[in-house]
Subunit: 224 residues, 4 copies
DNA sequence: TATGAATGAGCTTTCATTCAT
DNA sequence: AATGAATGAAAGCTCATTCAT
C-alpha cells in the first residue's frame, strides 16, 4: 500500500499521458454504477436518463458520448452485472467435498450469492419482462459461459459414479431448482410479503431457509 | 327525435336503465382486458394509455372516466387478475387422496396453473419490480385469502398426523418451494433460454419437469 | 359583407356541431401555412419545429397531434403546395388560340405563375436537395396528374397537324425548356445576382424576359 | 528517443519546415474534399461536422483549427468549387468558329460541363436556398470574373457585326437561357423524375437534349 | 500541429391528463 | 355516457463548439 517510488508507473497523481484515459474510464464507471442502480430500481422504461445524469459527477451529454443512448447504456449495465456475477461464480471450490456435501455446499453458496446481489436479480427480472431482447442483442452476453453450471455438472458426475444420485436429471434441471428457489426468494419478495405477510428475506429465518434448500436438493437427488 | 315507446330495445337513445349499466360494464371489461394484456406485455411504465385506448372499442377519455388514471387502471388489472386466480384455486380438491399423493397432486395442479397463466405471472413480476406498492394500496388485494395455502395446510396436517412428513417446515415454506419452481420456469424463461439455450417451457420436457417437481416436494417432505 | 340573417348556416359564431371540426381544420391550416413559410425559408433540416409552433396560434404539441412529426409535416406542406399549383394549372385555357399563339400564351402564363409562387419553387429546390425522397414517400404526390402537360400536348398536336411545328420534340421536352427558364429565374436568383450583378426578377426587365421566353419557344418550334 | 541525424526524411518528428506545411496543405485539402461531398449531399444545415471529421483522415479539432467553424468551412468549399469551375471555363476556345457554330459549341460545352459537375450544381442550389448569403460574405467569390460570359459576349458581337443575330438580347440573357436549361436538367432531376417519370439525365436521351439546346439558342438568335 | 474528453444549448418527440361540449 | 381537441411537462437525443494537454 505504501508508494514504491522505484519502478512502474505512478499510480494516480502527477499527470502522465495515461491520466486522461483513466479519467475517461472513471467517468464511464461512474455512469455505469449510477445507471445500474437506477435501472435495477425502476426498470428500463421507468429509469430516466436525466435522473441518472444528475446522480453522476458528469452530465447527460457524457452518457450519449460514451454509451450512445438509453438502450445501449442499459445493455452495458447488463453486461457488467453478468460479468461480475460470472467472475464470482468462477471462485466456487467444492471439489474437495464428497458429492452430497458438495451439492449442499453449492446450493448454500448460490443461496448466499443471490441474497447478496439483489440488484442483479432485479435486473434479471426486468430483462425477462423485456423477453431478454437486450441480452440477445449483446454479443458479450449471448456467448457468456456459466461456471456454476460446470461445477454442478462435475459434482453430479461424481455422484452418479458413486451411485448416490438419481440419474433421471441433468445439471440444468438441478440448476433450475436451485436458482428457482433462490431467485424467487428475492425477486418475489414483495408480492409474497404483501399477500402472506412473511418476508422471505427475514434474517431470522435465513438459516432455516438455507438448510431447507440444501435438504431439498439432497433429498431429491438421493431419493429411493 | 321523439321517443317511440312501442317495441324492442332502442339501440342508443332512451335505453332502459339496466341496459346502460350493462353497456358500461361491457366497456369497463373491454378496457380491463386490453389493459391486462398491455401491462403484462410492457410493464407499468412501459405501457401506454394511448395504446390501450386504441386497442379498445372506446376512447382514451373513458379510461379516465371509469378508472381515474393509469395507476388506478393498473391496480384494477391486478385486482381482477388476482381474483381470477384465487377463484380457480378454490376449486382444488385433493382431500380424497392420501397425504403423499395429495401433495404431489397439489404440486402438479399448481404447475399446470402457472403454465396456463403466463400473463398473471408477468404481472406479478412487474408488481415486484415496483415493490408491491400497488398491492399495498389496494384494499381488495391486501386482504385476499389464499385458498391454495389452506389446502396445503390441511394436507400437511394429515401427513404429520400419519407420521409421514417431516415436521421442520410449515405450509408457507412448502408453498414457497412449489411456487418458486413454477414461477421461475415462466418468469425467467427468457434469460434462462438466452443463456443456457434451453426453453424451460418446451412442451417436450413438460412431463419431466412436472414429475420433477412432484418428486422434489415429496422427497423432501418424506426424507429420513 | 353585411350579415344576412335569412338563410344558411351561421358563418362563424354561435357554436353548432360543426364548429369544433372547423376549429380543428383551422388549426391544421394555420400550422400548414406557417410550416410552408418556414420550410421554404430555411429548408427541411434548417427549419425548426419550435419556430413553427411559436409562429402558430397553437402549440408544438398540436403539430405532433395532427401531423405526427417533422417529416410528415414537411410532406403535408409539399402535398398542399403541389395541389394548389396543380389546381391553378387546371384553369389554363388556350384552346381558342392558333398553335403558335397558344404556345406563346402557355409560356407566358407559366412564367407569371412561377414568378408569383416563389415559395413553391423554393420547396421544389429543397426537395431536390433531398432527392425527392419525400415525394416518393407520399401517395398523394406520386400519383399527381399534371394538367399543364396535357394542355401543352394538345397545342403541339394541333401545331403538328397544321405543319407549323417541328416534329423532333415531345411535350415533355418543351415543358422542360419552359420550366427550366422559369424555375431558373427564381430558384437561382441569388447566386446569379451575386455573381453577375443582375437580378433576374427585376420588374424593369420582366416584360423583356417574358417576351424572350415566348420568342425562344416559338422560334425553336417553328424553326426551318 | 534521441534524434538520428543520419539519413532520409524522418516520418514524423523533426520534419523539414516545408514538409510540415505540405502536410498541413494535405490535411486541409482532405477536409475540403470530404466537406464538399457532405455539404453537396445534405445541404448546409443537414451536413454534420462530426460526419465530415469521421470521413477525414484527421479529427474534428483540425476542422476548427484550419477553418474556424462550420460556416467558414462551407464558404471555403464554395470558394474552391467556384474557382475550379471558373478555371475550367477559361479553357473555352470557340474563336475559330463562325458565330452560329460558335454559339452552338458554347452551349454544348456548357451542357457537358454541367452534366459532369453535379456536386457543384447542388452546392449552387443549396447556396440559393440560403439566398447567397455566404457568397456575399466571401471576398473571393463576390469578385469572381466569369470567363464564359466574356466568350459569349465576343461571339455575340461577331454575330451582330455579321448581321446574323437578333439584337434585342444581351450576353447575360443568353447565358441565362443556356444555364437555365443545363442547371434545371441536373438540379431538378429528382422532382421532375418523380412527377413525370422521365430522368432528364438518362444517357439514352443525352444527345437529343444536347442538340435541343443548341437548336434552341440558335433558332432564337437567328429568328426572323 | 494535434487530440480525446467534455459541454451547454436546444432539438424532436412523447406522455398522462384535462377541457369543452 | 361519451368524445375529439388540446396541453404542460418532461423525456431522449443531437449539435457545433471548446477545454486541457
Amino acid at each position: 500500500m505504501t508508494a514504491q517510488p522505484t519502478d512502474a508507473a505512478p499510480p494516480d497523481e502527477a499527470a502522465l499521458p495515461g491520466e486522461r484515459i483513466r479519467d475517461a474510464e472513471r467517468t464511464k464507471a461512474d455512469i455505469l454504477t449510477v445507471a445500474t442502480r437506477e435501472f435495477a430500481d425502476r426498470g428500463y422504461a421507468g429509469a430516466r436518463i436525466n435522473e441518472i445524469a444528475d446522480k453522476t459527477s458528469t452530465t447527460k451529454r457524457m452518457i450519449y458520448y460514451y454509451f450512445g443512448g438509453k438502450e445501449q447504456l442499459y445493455i452495458a449495465v447488463l453486461e457488467q452485472a453478468y460479468s461480475r456475477i460470472r467472475s464470482l461464480e468462477q471462485q466456487l471450490d467444492v471439489e474437495h467435498l464428497d458429492p452430497v456435501e458438495a451439492i449442499r455446499e453449492l446450493a448454500g453458496l448460490t443461496f448466499d450469492h443471490h441474497e447478496s446481489h439483489p440488484d442483479f436479480i432485479r435486473l434479471v427480472s426486468i430483462e425477462n419482462i423485456h423477453r431478454a431482447e437486450h441480452i440477445a442483442r449483446s454479443e458479450v452476453l449471448s456467448g457468456l459461459a456459466n461456471p456454476a453450471l460446470d461445477v454442478l455438472e462435475a459434482i453430479l458426475r461424481r455422484g452418479w459414479a458413486a451411485g448416490v444420485f438419481r440419474e433421471d436429471v441433468d445439471a440444468l434441471d438441478v440448476h433450475q431448482v436451485i436458482s428457482g428457489f433462490c431467485v424467487f426468494r428475492t425477486a418475489n419478495r414483495h408480492t409474497f410479503g404483501a399477500i402472506f405477510g412473511r418476508d422471505m428475506l427475514d434474517p431470522a429465518r435465513r438459516e432455516h431457509q438455507r438448510r431447507l434448500l440444501g435438504d431439498l436438493v439432497v433429498a431429491y437427488l438421493t431419493a429411493r
